[in-house]
Amino acid sequence: MSDGELVRRVVAGDTAAYGTLARRWFYRILAFCQSRLVTHDIHAAEDLAQEVLIRGFSDLRTLVDPDHFGAWLRGVARHVCSDWGRRYVREPEQDESGTWSHESSTAIPVDIAAANDERRVVLEQLSTIPEELREVVLLHYYETLTYDEMARWLGVSRATVNERLAKARALLRVRLAMLRSNV
């Protein structure tokens, strides 16, 4: 079912149809939000992506052309991200006793720890490259979009997508290599 048909269903009262839209666009919105945050906190980006999708539902009646839901949702994401600012700090939550909750400190297996470490390092270095390069990398690895699909989503040419991906990989390769040589 096309985006336009799903949007018309949602507007007619079928909120379940919005679930299909949310699943279809989640990773693209996540990549957009994560590329806009300076922090490498993936949870903050997920929170933002959820806010975008919720806002998209709330504002759906303002969408003039249902067949262009994706581009419109990208505009919604832009507004949401600018509200939250480029530096988002995840607020700790208070439990009922009024004390701050803390994450568990149980040990984890070495191989999972190593994988988490590699992920953390890559996310850290990713946050240091320019925003438009960051987004292309996240789009490519989160959703394995083709260059043409990424170009349509970003509103640029296929050649620009190729160039941005190449530049991003070159920067990341150099920075990751420098980290290894400093260990």
Binding site: S58, L165, L172
Partner: protein, 433 residues
């Protein structure tokens, strides 16, 4: 194929984005060029690292949370908890109760009777529970927008709970709402008044037409049908025990206070408003830009002057949450543009403004079209001279409006601009529409 071309295509080669002929060309080059082969290996190694590190997070939990939120938006909070909802009886439960006649005809009759019996018991339970449960007050307002986390206390006996994001939240009578140092929010009352809370502001929604400002700053716009009563309970006898004011219908005002300080009203409307002061049974006129402080037992004290745009600037992050076509947002942006145009005309030389080219005329046009500019005809005329020479085609609608201006000079310059931009433009009343 040379190395330079091959290197440009290597990323697309690794990602499977090359056409078959291009892929074959790159393959052949790689088989002949050790240097490019090394580059390919580096890209493949990095690709592997990025694939492992950037595996996408699970999508379903996030989508599920979104659906739960939109379900709440669609249907509002259900006072009956899931524990009280009717339970379905399944086959296994019936077997456990000894209902073991499972012949098709017999089981159908037993199913119908059993279902009716269970339905009757469930309805009875639901009826008893609903009657016994303390009913929440009906909603008198709802939170429509927020720029971050805000806290809500639904009654004096309830705890503060954090509310985040754009979900619409209903507020019963006497609910308290509190913004944090980094959040703003907007509420709409059932009487269609709009109230916006600045950072670190707390208020109580008593009724759709009555709010109590505990501390902080709020902006209020009343509808054409209902006035809004704003009260504030004081902790310092120096400022009186309680202050209550009535904002008239179709008015806009901004209020500030803390528990130990007087209540102040800032005139952010473009016209004066008459505020009724309950204790003194008198009206007080608050002019645009004026700040008026109210202390019990003394006359309202008028102090200072604030620019209306600056006084309301804190609301911009909220307005930017709205649809770009929202009239209030567009009006506020036009006011800001007009202020920029006024500053340019007041502080820059003609040549400096002209150097900005056609885009630089947009703030000037906004300034000339603003009501405030009519008090400065000379600046208007100077702006129109520049507009006549440089305004872009996109300003045609504004220029047509200015071609009907009361000021003959403004009218003339606008028509010069239109003739420049639209060669076949005729200076007739129909064309100026």
């Amino acid at each position: 194929m040379n190395c330079e071309t091959a290197l440009l295509m290597l990323h697309a080669f690794v990602d499977g984005e090359l056409s078959a002929p291009d892929r074959a060309l790159v393959d052949q080059h790689l088989s002949e060029c050790p240097s490019c082969h090394v580059q390919l290996a580096k890209i493949q190694e990095l690709d592997g690292v990025l694939k492992r590190a950037l595996h996408p997070p699970a999508r379903e939990p996030a989508v599920e949370r979104v659906l739960q939120s939109i379900h709440r938006i669609s249907e509002s909070i259900d006072p009956i908890s899931p524990d009280h909802a009717p339970r379905r009886i399944d086959r296994d439960s019936r077997l456990l109760r000894g209902e073991n006649d499972l012949t098709p005809r017999g089981s159908a009759r037993k199913t119908t009777a059993g279902t009716m019996f269970v339905l009757a018991i469930t309805l009875l339970i639901v009826f008893v529970v609903v009657v016994q449960m303390p009913k929440e007050n009906p909603a008198v307002a709802e939170i429509t927008m927020a720029t971050g986390s805000i806290d809500v206390r639904r009654s004096d006996h309830a705890r503060w709970t954090a509310v985040k994001g754009p979900s619409v939240v209903s507020l019963p009578a006497n609910a308290r709402i509190r913004t944090r140092v980094d959040s703003l929010c907007e509420i709409r009352t059932k009487s269609d008044a709009i109230v916006r809370l600045n950072h670190a502001t707390e208020l109580v929604v008593r009724r759709p037409e009555q709010i109590e400002l505990v501390t902080g700053e709020l902006w209020c716009r009343t509808p054409s049908t209902t006035a809004m009563e704003i009260s504030s309970v004081k902790t310092s006898s120096r400022v009186g025990s309680e202050a209550t004011f009535t904002c008239p219908t179709s008015s806009e005002s901004q209020w500030q206070t803390t528990p130990s300080n007087p209540v102040s009203c800032v005139g952010v409307s473009s016209t004066p408003i008459e505020v009724a002061v309950k204790l003194s049974h008198e009206n007080c006129t608050v002019s645009p830009g004026e700040t008026v402080s109210f202390v019990a037992g003394t006359a309202p004290a008028k102090s200072g002057y604030s620019d209306r745009l600056v006084a309301r600037a804190w609301q911009l992050p909220l307005l930017l949450l709205k649809n770009p076509r929202d009239p209030e947002l567009r009006q506020r942006l036009t006011e800001l543009l007009a202020a920029a145009g006024h500053s340019k005309m007041a502080y820059l030389y003609d040549e400096q403004i002209r150097q900005l080219g056609p885009p630089g005329t947009l703030p000037l046009i906004a300034f000339v079209r603003s009501s405030e500019s009519r008090e400065q005809p000379e600046l208007r005329h100077n702006a129109m001279r520049i507009i006549a020479d440089l305004a872009p085609r996109s300003a045609e609608a504004d220029l047509k409006a200015l071609s009907n201006d009361d000021d003959p000079s403004v009218k003339q310059f606008a028509r010069v601009a239109l003739k420049r931009l639209v060669p076949d433009w005729n200076d007739t009343p129909a064309a100026r529409e």
